[in-house]
Point group: C2
Chain length 121, copies 2
């Protein structure tokens, strides 16, 4: 479904979505899973279980988090589930963080504490 793809997909990342993705990224095991998916390009849950010292159900949960955050795609194949990293989404996330950081760095105006203006995120 190609609903919308206006140029860079990074800029259409609402703050809420970015927060969700960062939440998905902010876990050591999920980072490892991502790297493994990146190295393997695509693989199934069982493969991931073998690498991490975690129960299968736990890995399944972590994968679900990553999928719901949009960082990983999943496609059923036979009795398996093939997980594939979404590099675009990952790049968009990095871009989102960079944009947030730049927004924070590009506003060095020495505004006092009483300044009543804060830009909506």
């Amino acid at each position: 479904m190609k609903m919308l793809s206006p140029a860079t997909s990074a800029e259409c990342l609402p703050a809420e979505r970015l927060a969700e993705r960062l939440g998905a990224l902010s876990h050591r095991k999920r980072m490892e899973i991502l790297r493994y998916l990146a190295a393997s390009d695509r693989c199934c849950c069982k493969d991931v279980v073998g690498r991490l010292d975690l129960a299968q159900s736990t890995v399944s949960q972590h994968l679900k988090v990553l999928v719901e955050a949009g960082l990983v795609r999943v496609k059923p194949d036979r009795q398996r589930s093939i997980y594939e990293i979404d590099r675009e989404a990952l790049a968009a996330t990095a871009q989102g963080v960079t944009a947030l950081v730049e927004a924070c760095c590009d506003e060095p105006q020495p505004v006092g504490c009483t300044e009543p203006r804060i830009r909506e995120l």
Copy 2:
């Protein structure tokens, strides 16, 4: 292929630390706080409370999370606490995410599911 420049402070961000910072970033209110701190350069807790629809104790907690993550500095001043955004740390965090993403994108080797190698994060 060591393309990394050891001069960047981003590289000395261990995965655990990066995860912590992303966790700190993965909250809508804390994003707003960061942006407000960026716009105000430095301000106190009370100022932040006025902007967000949160209790003072809650804001104090969020600020604590940001400080512990190293994204914000705090300095006591009289009866106040002056909070100041750490742009370097913020930049390092963005760099860390970018590095993670690039690591995931720069490994497009079509390794099969059975490949027994996964690089340590």
